[in-house]
Symmetry: C2
Subunit: 222 residues, 2 copies
DNA sequence: TTTATTTTTTAGATTTGTCTAAATTTTATT
DNA sequence: AATAAAATTTAGACAAATCTAAAAAATAAA
């Protein structure tokens, strides 16, 4: 058996899903813009997707994915993001050059292939751009963003933002080898002054004050 | 930029290349049969490939790939076989379940992707079915098949066939741990009786007679 | 609430790749 | 050489996906 839906239909489903996520609602023009096509072409496709029971659609009234359409869209997103992860982690591509290639790879139909790839990659939770990778049932783990005071002990996390942007805090963080992207975990929290002891791989533990901890934001899965 | 040629065109080029290899010449019916399509469809496509300067074609007289067509075909074959190798060696697929999936993967267009994949796989010389993998210039190393008498000294090779199929020789080979797929090299050739000393990895050397050597066929690259 | 603007849909073409049925050419048999 | 059979090509049609231009509906402005 070949693919269940054409690449074109899959691209429409994915685009509608994404726009739905961002705006809650989607318009014909949105989709045309997203897919670099014409509104008339979108209308044509909406009818086809409706006929295939992937979409709820009433002309002039709007449209949205139904359960089946959402399910299909999530599997394409899963494939897209797993391939991106593969390209970066195994083939040494930069995170900024994988999207185009994944746009093609996401349409390869074999389910077994993608599940094996997932396993081969160690079941990654997010792609090189930090976006969550749905599992084979279409579920994904949320990436939580918290400051270091609220990061659970022993939870590996990645620095994703700095609150205070002053030269002083940046100098301090630089000295302690903490930068955007640094992976670390909190080893101890001292109740006395709310200071925190951190561990970065291959480095000796460092301590930071509550004031600093409040201004370092990290993200982690689950 | 997307793919230079459609998947369909690439499939035609590949089919024509293969049939040309086997029979020296190709007919419309051959191609129709190979691609599970109709002769009329083949004729239609021949015209398009000719217009694209990938094929020499004169109606009713026959056709064959020109230099450019051959070049394109070889790159598709390269992709097909590298992906098959990836599926077997990295994703633990059986050699009998990868062809279908590679039929889709071979149409992914990125040249950088396939060159990186080649590197990631360690520049394999042949795919899981023993077929040679062309390099990025479309050249491949021939796999030579010889009997053990003619295998160059110290050339690693793989047992690919047994001439005499009698129970006696099979018992002898079995006792010396030589079977289809065994990788070995010739360490010494004795001029006195043309007997040969072999080395199989992790085993002590074994000697076989000229008579046996004549009946064991091996293949090796280059 | 008319009128104007924007959005969406329809009507009719176009491109690519495929098909069937019929015509043409080549090849094989009397 | 004439006829039969097989291979190949053409003619005309169709499905999928796209487009332009025009019509219809919804929304915003006056
Ligand atoms: Mn992407
Ligand atoms: Mn991504
Ligand atoms: Mn294959
Ligand atoms: Mn193969």
């Amino acid at each position: 058996m070949g693919p269940k839906y054409s690449s074109s239909r899959e691209n429409y489903l994915k685009a509608i899903f994404h726009l739905q996520e961002i705006h809650g609602t989607v318009t014909t023009n949105d989709v045309a813009n997203e897919l670099q096509t014409r509104p008339a072409s979108v209308t044509d496709m909406l009818k086809k997707l409706k006929a295939q029971k992937l979409l709820l659609y009433e002309k002039y009234k709007g449209f949205k994915l139904n359960t089946e359409g959402r399910k299909v869209a999530l599997q394409i997103i899963r494939k897209h993001r797993l391939w991106e992860y593969f390209l970066v982690e195994k083939l040494r591509f930069g995170w900024d050059e994988v999207h185009e290639i994944a746009e093609e790879l996401e349409h390869i139909s074999s389910k077994k292939l993608i599940d094996r790839l997932d396993e081969f990659l160690g079941f990654p939770k997010s792609d090189p751009h930090g976006d969550p990778i749905p599992d084979s049932q279409g579920r994904w783990t949320l990436t939580r963003q918290v400051d270091l005071l609220n990061l659970p002990i022993n939870q590996m996390a990645e620095v994703s933002g700095i609150g205070d942007q002053s030269a002083e805090i940046l100098e301090l963080l630089n000295h302690k080898h903490i930068a955007l992207g640094t992976r670390l975990e909190v080893k101890k929290k001292f109740a006395f002054d709310n200071s925190i002891e951190l561990k970065i791989k291959n480095q000796s533990p460092v301590t930071i004050s509550e004031h600093v901890a409040k201004n370092v934001f990290v993200k982690y899965d689950e």
